[in-house]
């Protein structure tokens, strides 16, 4: 296992920053998990593996994490730890998934800790306002960032610094059936993100658009960016059509240009 102390520290800082970035929807969120895989790969010195792991994990989350209020695995933390250990030990995507997914499900608790910790800070801030100490109140609110940073940074540090022995033993132990099982799982897991997203979106009334995208890829082998271009075209046509329809309907009835 080769994870240097500076790599552990950088990854810890990165996890702490992520906790802030994702909660304020700052810059990384749209391709969240891919980005986490990329940066972890960068720190670990193997961007390609980082991207592969991040891409696979991203496909499990795709926009909507939870369905029906269920808790969402924290794929960011799972990706950091899975990628770091997989690259550090020279194992591949299978090991990253075998480690990263359980870690992601355990890491759900970190969000709970963060939000419970937030209560402490908000009460301190409220009290400061009661005492006419507004500056102090703002400082307490801003200090909430340390809560998130600690809730995410400390577990990552502990896992990377003290987990290497266990993980090395685990990777050595991993029998062939488990490795090939996770190889299959790697190809199959994107259905998780896709099915949750379909449940969230009006799939039942607009299933034919999914079919169109499927056709473009399965039969014509159009790459995903090309499919997105076709998607934009159809979306624009629909937008234009709807606009002219409403214009006809609203003619002379209501003037909504007055804002």
């Amino acid at each position: 296992m080769h994870i240097a102390i500076w790599q552990i520290l950088l990854l810890t800082l990165f996890a702490a920053f992520l906790a802030y970035d994702f909660s304020s929807q700052f810059v990384l969120i749209n391709a969240g998990v891919v980005c986490v895989g990329f940066i972890t790969g960068l720190i670990m010195g193997d961007v390609k593996t980082g991207l592969l792991i991040g891409g696979t994990m991203q496909l499990m989350t795709l926009g909507v994490g939870g369905f029906g209020g269920s808790s969402v695995p924290d794929y960011n933390i799972g990706t950091i730890i899975g990628t770091a250990f997989a690259i550090g030990s020279g194992a591949g995507l299978e090991a990253a998934l075998a480690i990263g997914i359980p870690v992601a499900t355990l890491a759900v608790q970190l969000d709970v800790i963060r939000k419970m910790g937030g209560s402490f800070f908000i009460h301190k801030a409220m009290k400061a306002v009661d005492n006419y100490e507004n500056k102090k109140a703002y400082h307490w609110i801003t200090s909430g960032v340390f809560m998130s940073a600690a809730a995410y940074g400390i577990p990552v540090f502990i896992a990377l610094a003290f987990g290497q022995g266990v993980v090395t033993a685990f990777i050595k132990w991993m029998p062939i059936w488990l490795i090939s099982g996770f190889k299959v799982a790697g190809g199959l897991l994107p259905v998780v993100g896709i099915s949750i997203l379909l449940r969230y979106m009006p799939f039942k009334s607009y299933w034919f658009f999914v079919l169109a995208g499927f056709f473009l890829s399965a039969y014509l082998n159009v790459p995903i960016l090309g499919i997105a271009i076709v998607g934009v075209i159809i979306a624009a046509i629909s937008f234009k059509q709807d606009s002219s329809n409403t214009k006809l309907a609203a003619e002379g009835v209501d003037n909504d240009d007055e804002i």
Partner: protein, 276 residues
Amino acid sequence: MMTKSKNEKSVSEKVTKKDVRGVYYRWWLQSQICFNYETMQSGGVVAALGPFIEKIYGKNKELVKQKLKQYFQFFNINPYMGNMVLGSVAALEETEEENVTETANALKTGLMGPLSGIGDSIFYVIPMSVLGAIAAYMAKQGSAIGLGIAVAFTLIMLWVRLKLFDIGYNVGTNFITTKRAMFDKLTKSATILGLIVIGGLLASTVSVKVPFVFTYGAVKTNIQGILDSIMPKLLPLGMTFFAYWIIGKKKMTTVKLVFLIIAIAILGSVTGILGV
């Protein structure tokens, strides 16, 4: 509610454009910084509006305290749309009318649900799934270009957030009701884009095959060959429908689905039915 025209805007001479912008920046950087179960984003609201309110009502310490305490009320909104609400709340506070904070809080509470619904679709779920899908697909092939596109988009969205704040401040939140039809159309179009990309994603990223060859006497039947002759990517399509069906069941959670899929993969691989 918020039908002030632009020339009424300079009522308050106590605050400058910079002070108004300050509310935006503080909300951007701190909206969920102190997120908690009791009041959710109230910390972000107080941190964003506090200095602004102090600037307006600074002399009246008791009033400032009272207002800040009111802003500690429960608030939870899509942070993008939150800009619009915070902008209009800032404009309200500038009027210095009596009980204006009650009005502002009523506005905040009333808009939380509807604005979050729009905001989550347009600014969160659909961009994240379309761009996340593109980034993930390209990342699996070893390219970071998709990731770059997603980050570039987010940078553009920073400008959009500022615009939303300005709309809230200058026009008021009834913008959203007068332009409701436009937002609905936008949501629908974005949904169409999302669904098409998902269809492509399904066929291009879910990969599973049946390596199992059925032998009966001298006849060998390649099952994958049969499946392919029916339709390419038939198995990924079937697996997606299976997952779609089962996640709709009661008691099924995201976590359970992940482990169910892993169990199917391991079982399928051990028995030789499923392969890559």
